[in-house]
Symmetry: C2
Subunit: 352 residues, 2 copies
Amino acid sequence: MRIVLLSGGVGGARCARAIDSWRRTADPSLQLTAIVNVGDDFSHLGLRVSPDIDSVTYHLGELGDADRGWGRAGDSARIANQIERHLPEAAWFHLGDLDLGHSLIRTEMLASGMPLSRVTQRFLDDFGISARVFPVTDDDSPTIVRLPDGPLSFQEWWVRLRADPVPERFEYPRAAAARPAPGVIAAIEEADLIIVAPSNPIVSITPILEVPGVREAVVGARAPIVGVSPIIGGRPVRGWADRCLAAAGVECSALGVREFYGARGSGGLLDGWLVDPVDDLDRESDEPGGSGEHGSERTIVTRSVPLRFTGGREDARIAEALLTLAWSSTQNAEPPDEAKVNRRLDLPHSGI
Amino acid sequence: MRIVLLSGGVGGARCARAIDSWRRTADPSLQLTAIVNVGDDFSHLGLRVSPDIDSVTYHLGELGDADRGWGRAGDSARIANQIERHLPEAAWFHLGDLDLGHSLIRTEMLASGMPLSRVTQRFLDDFGISARVFPVTDDDSPTIVRLPDGPLSFQEWWVRLRADPVPERFEYPRAAAARPAPGVIAAIEEADLIIVAPSNPIVSITPILEVPGVREAVVGARAPIVGVSPIIGGRPVRGWADRCLAAAGVECSALGVREFYGARGSGGLLDGWLVDPVDDLDRESDEPGGSGEHGSERTIVTRSVPLRFTGGREDARIAEALLTLAWSSTQNAEPPDEAKVNRRLDLPHSGI
């Protein structure tokens, strides 16, 4: 079985790790391919930084700092302290020593002519990671934040300004000229399941879909497409997704994001949607008036499971819920019991 | 009193620290200016590396690794280990984490348009170092090693090939177009004493003198010029100066290097020459036949003192010997007792 994960940020990294961990127990032959946002990529101190690719790589390699959600476990700040001392104007973006070394090596590989996708694969090979991580494109395609007084790079807005103020809009000015990285379209077409990670819909998932051919391949894929809500109880799990959603006119709720993505049957993206129990949308839309207001979303099969990734058994439950949901969405019916799902997906019962 | 030190490599750094340490006891008002070779500078992993400037800066700031003679004390190798793992083809040049961070910051400052001399001064200021360190030029002026099968950068030959084979010659192809960095010529003209550090004559001192105007300023300076032999007992104190001297047809001995520099009165550089007691040249040239063979060198006043820098009282003895020698060379006579030297140089007796 082949799973494609559309991934950005910490939510994407944690979801990738959850699926990969579950895979080892349940189905070692399962192939996971993360297609990753590069809209956050930027150059700092001459180093090419790819935060979303690194987050997913570090998490898959069990190298990531689980508490912070970004950077490397056990990293040090010797060079960051030097920057603070000698070049304080550049200290707003923190890179741990290992994180900086990783970016330095990437920058050198890119300078030698290797495309980002090959650089990323080389790191995966060196770390012994069997999952695949594809930047959605090898081309430079930065997300631009349009503020009242002009445009800003995403990282400057997100990190230096701490996502303040809410921008007028986000732009992906170079996406239209970008080409999908090698393997991206084929992976989507060949997938048995496509998962939209609980990543920022506006600055992680949309920039992936904006690369020409990607949205079309996803929507046209034979695989079911299920998403994981990045919003729990009306608040982002991490970061300032609320401000990104506000700029896009999207309500900061599991329902709002589901509407933003839309149902595949109605020109949108999703067949299924996984929410936290606090956001049980079926219950909501079963209430009088609910079906009318969100009528176009009724074909998105929505299920709930606790959505906080912990690195433990909760992660396996999320992974299993995604597979169950995928089965349900292809049936557009109530899910069968778990044993049936696993049989249909040709998986052993994981026992978790 | 103003001392100018022509400096390269570890010998230059250790000599600078010896003079600076001695200054604090003997004459805090003494101004030390190191004019430093940039022929070894090169770019590695996109980082601008200035080994000779860094060595002297680190030593003056008591930041250097005293045992190795290069790099930072207490440095770590986290990024070097990453390079070894992911980019082994670049691992031949080792940079500790702190050393790498320092070069990263320099690279960023240079990229912002700051000339190397200002970058160097900014580091000195941040480290609280009162001595001045001037790159001889802000222009790129690399030393090229001419091997039978083509040219190579100095660091590739020195570090990667470990100075093997002996090259046909060394070249300074861009020196003729380089301009002395701000303050270099003035420092030489205003100096009360010019010291040629025990640095590699071929790849440290010569590239300094090759920058147009520098050799002329040094030779024409009102200050006495005294040199410290980098060769003790026929062997370099560190590194492969023997192979550099061989390429230039210079005998690897304290005498050979003295002859290479030559007497200022005979178109050369030196008024005085400090050697280790094992190389007592006066004794040699007083022997029958000695005066004839080395006739042109007779006006270089040569004295001996133990020349191994230790970071302790031996360093102060070398510094004092240099001042005594400078006094002698202006007299072209035997040195007076130390108390007289200190009076003439307006220095308190250091008591060492």
